[in-house]
């Protein structure tokens, strides 16, 4: 086993690492150095891109018809017979979505803490399910006196709640995969990077749901199918995670729109459609002063979203008791 490679020694081996041409012990030693060396990480990333481009030299070689059809049939049969791939509820948090931005007038990132906003003491929101009618009355009162503050948010991920509650299990499984792949040198760099990114994303997702500064707002509806939802607000990082169950599919050209309701504003947190089981997970980042949230609501809107709610909420939950 090789230990403690000098920087130059490790750097010289990065090209071979990118080509997967190092013996296992040397590979482990170089990777150990790379883990602590930013410049080598950058270099390795660039060299892996270079190595990936070598695939361009390959010319298509059609498979024999029988082989092609056999493989295709087996793949479709496997896909049809196995459980659907687990959607990755949190992974796209950074990788897939741009950061939220206030479009007007400040252009200040919504996920940034306003400079002039003092950090208030932690606020524990009392999770309260309010009757739909009462919430509507409250919402109408607010609407009458409020100007809507427009803001953009982004739907980061929509997946099943089953995947959500199994995030911890997935993270643990990926940790094992990463450990095994690293030790045995079986996976290429992209796979390892993907595993690391997946673990990080899941840890962030879990923290956003279970952290010490997470407030929970429960939403409910009066529909027969008993759609319900919860909003997890991780106030330490201004992360919002919305999880819904039993939502019927919106009509063609329509989508659900999520709203953060304050005394003076209704802030869009994005549009979404539930999966086939009626489940949905929406994530967003938005810095809201901790005492300002009055309610969370979901309305049925055109697919592109609306500047303000145009329909009666299908789900609503208040943060304050009445």
């Amino acid at each position: 086993m090789m230990h403690g490679l000098a920087h130059d020694e490790a750097r010289d081996a990065l090209g071979a690492l990118a080509l997967d041409a190092l013996d296992a012990s040397e590979r482990a030693a170089v990777l150990a150095h790379v883990a602590d060396c930013g410049s080598c990480r950058d270099e390795l990333s660039a060299l892996r891109e270079t190595a990936a481009k070598l695939t361009y030299v390959v010319e298509p070689v059609p498979m024999p018809d029988d082989q092609r059809d056999r493989v295709r049939a087996r793949l479709l049969a496997r896909a049809a017979s196995e459980p659907k791939p687990k959607p990755i509820p949190a992974a796209p948090a950074q990788a897939h979505a741009p950061q939220l931005r206030i479009l007007e007038p400040s252009h200040v990132p919504l996920n940034a803490t306003p400079r002039d906003t003092p950090v208030p003491p932690p606020v524990v929101l009392r999770p309260t399910v309010v009757p739909l009618n009462a919430a509507l009355v409250a919402a109408q009162r607010m609407e009458a006196r409020a100007r809507w503050m427009a803001a953009a948010a982004i739907v980061v991920a929509v997946g099943s709640v089953w995947a959500l509650i199994n995030t911890r299990e997935e993270r643990d499984e990926m940790r094992v995969q990463l450990q095994v792949a690293s030790v045995e040198g079986r996976a290429d760099g992209r796979v390892l990077d993907s595993l690391r990114a997946g673990i990080t994303a899941r840890e962030r997702f879990i923290a956003n749901l279970t952290g010490p500064q997470v407030a929970v707002v429960t939403l409910a509806s009066g529909t027969p199918r008993a759609a319900s939802a919860r909003m997890f607000w991780d106030q330490s990082v201004n992360a919002w995670t919305f999880v819904a169950h039993n939502l019927p599919q919106p009509r063609n050209g329509r989508a659900y729109q999520l709203w953060l309701v304050t005394a003076s504003t209704k802030i869009s947190a994005g549009t979404f459609t539930p999966d086939g089981a009626g489940d949905a997970v929406v994530r967003a980042n938005y810095a809201l002063p901790k005492g300002d949230l009055a309610a969370v609501a979901v309305t049925d809107e055109p697919a592109r979203g609306s500047p303000q709610p145009t329909t009666v909420p299908v789900l609503v939950g208040s943060t304050k008791g009445r």
């Binding site: 990065l14 090209g15 071979a16 080509l19 997967d20 041409a21 013996d23 660039a46 060299l47 891109e49 190595a51 990936a52 481009k53 070598l54 695939t55 361009y56 030299v57 390959v58 010319e59 298509p60 070689v61 059609p62 498979m63 082989q67 056999r70 493989v71 295709r72 793949l75 479709l76 496997r78 896909a79 791939p85 687990k86 959607p87 990755i88 990788a95 897939h96 741009p98 479009l103 007007e104 809507w148 427009a150 953009a152 948010a153 982004i154 739907v155 980061v156 991920a157 929509v158 290429d188 993907s194 990114a197 729109q257 869009s268 994005g270 549009t271 697919a303 979203g305 609306s306 500047p307």
Partner: protein, 214 residues
């Protein structure tokens, strides 16, 4: 833009979570197919397979000669794509590169497993030179792919023969540096130097590929 204006981009559905229904008038692009696969649409995998199986087959065939093993590796490549479709990140490269890199990894796994089992002595591929003539008017490749291929082949051709051979034995031959040294009878240090220099030159040469071709 005033977000209250009628044409404001209200929120906000992200490209990260598009409707799986997509645009019925156009074939979904690769990234869309992967998103559909991530949602459990096996027909999307069928479409991805139809689009890319020839290239995946080509790279696997280049590394493994046994027909049964090639078939298995092609299948496992697309199966891995099915299982990991949700992890694909557009920012990190094209689907083609993602898929072919995956195919190469699975082929490497198979090569190493076969080597361990002595099913196929690795010496069987000694001396293979990867650089080939560009096929004229290959109907299986679109113009952009052909251009990329030409560009990379030209970059490889610019390498000194001994550097290119070391690189190709590592990349397509699946050999480690010590295995290459053993096979060629050259000192390990020489192989390391050749591979390092080859990668440095290629890196500089191919850096422009994204800007010029992609």
């Amino acid at each position: 833009m005033n977000p209250l204006s009628p044409d404001s981009p209200y929120p906000l559905s992200s490209a990260a979570a598009p409707s799986p229904r997509g645009d019925a008038d156009r074939a979904p692009d690769d990234a869309s197919l992967l998103r559909m696969m991530a949602l459990g649409d096996e027909q999307a995998m069928g479409a991805l397979y139809d689009r890319w199986h020839s290239l995946v087959h080509a790279i696997v065939l280049r590394m493994i000669r046994q027909r049964d093993a090639v078939e298995d590796v092609v299948e496992e490549t697309f199966w891995q794509a099915w299982r990991q479709a949700g992890r694909y990140e557009t920012a990190r490269g094209s689907v083609q590169t993602w898929l072919l890199t995956m195919a190469r990894s699975r082929a490497l796994d198979r090569m190493r497993a076969m080597k361990r089992l002595r099913e196929e002595p690795i010496e069987g591929e000694q001396g293979e030179v990867v650089v080939q003539q560009v096929a004229d008017g290959d109907p299986g490749m679109d113009a952009e792919a052909a251009e990329r291929r030409t560009f990379v082949l030209a970059a490889l051709a610019e390498l000194p023969e001994e550097q290119r051979a070391a690189l190709e034995l590592g990349y397509f031959g699946g050999l480690s540096q010590s295995e290459i040294a053993e096979r060629t009878g050259l000192p390990l240090g020489t192989i390391k130097t050749r591979m390092r220099l080859a990668m440095q030159k290629l890196r500089g040469r191919l850096q422009v590929l994204r800007e010029e071709v992609q």
